[in-house]
Point group: C2
Chain length 160, copies 2
DNA sequence: TATTGTTATACTCTATAACTATA
DNA sequence: TATAGTTATAGAGTATAACAATA
């Protein structure tokens, strides 16, 4: 790693040493993929949230609607496991979407413990609108990254 | 987008329709880079946290130590701006690290309002240990992604 | 016994606003 | 007046544990 020289701590910082450097160095972080993944993720969330603010749909809510749409009748446990959300957290998340009449928790015919999740008509409409808005978010990512790098990123991360 | 057919909602799901599908589809999320960026970020944090649990250093604390190490004497505002952390949150973060004697908030000679941040000897030692442990985390990422894709990801995200 | 949905708790993170002391 | 550090607050996310109903 080419960071080894600086990480010894003895070599001189890049700018003026007096008090507070104006150009702040990332140091070790330059060799940490996680740092840059987090920065990208923060940017993506901010852009996504602002674009979907008009319909008041968060990234988590979007993912919930999308997965229910693609798997009508699935249970809360299955949904939670798919999205990596705690069952306990999902309860409140679904409760709010149900209050907004975007989905319903129907009794499962086969298993009395389960709920079968379904989007309402309004839920489908909101999801369609959310898709349109988030398509523009995706377009912005393509524009910033370039189409080839965007594709490459999407495929690489999808496999991970 | 090859998701357009399914997103119409009319075509049949991939598995049994009866009650709860075992194979849960991601639907729209397959075309959302942010979804996969978040999943990678969650995996990275979990791996990082478990590897550095022995020295009780979180990702945020690691980034703070690394940037102070690389920019001795910088102020809290500069640090906050660099890492995208709120000044208000940084206060508590630094307080704990100072309690653990990993860093000190020295009075800035030039500006009475500022603190000049410095790692202590112990702080440098802990950072060195954190670097060693997180190097293994990074190795694991290289192993999972393959060296070429790791390099490509790091360079792409660094530029973003 | 084990699982599903639920409630409750605690801790972290994020986003604000407001205060103080310095400039 | 503006900025640096601080305090306080509220909302969301994460991680648990425990409980009732059901399997």
């Amino acid at each position: 790693m080419r960071e080894s020289k600086r990480s010894s701590g003895a070599t001189a910082p890049p700018r003026r040493r007096r008090d507070g450097p104006r150009t702040v160095e990332l140091g070790l972080l330059n060799q940490r993929l996680g740092y840059f993944v987090r920065r990208l993720q923060v940017w993506i969330f901010q852009d996504f949230i602002s674009r979907l603010a008009a319909i008041d749909i968060s990234p988590a809510q979007f993912s919930v609607l999308a997965v229910i749409h693609a798997n009508e009748g699935l249970s809360q446990s299955e949904l939670a496991a798919t999205l990596g959300i705690e069952r306990a957290r999902l309860v409140r998340l679904l409760h709010r979407l149900e209050q907004r009449a975007l989905l319903r928790r129907l009794p499962s015919c086969a298993d009395g413990r389960r709920h079968a999740l379904r989007l309402t008509r309004e839920g489908e409409r909101v999801l369609a609108r959310a898709k349109a808005l988030s398509d523009r978010h995706e377009d912005e990512l393509v524009r910033r990254l370039g189409p080839e790098r965007y594709r490459m990123l999407l495929e690489t991360l999808r496999e991970f």
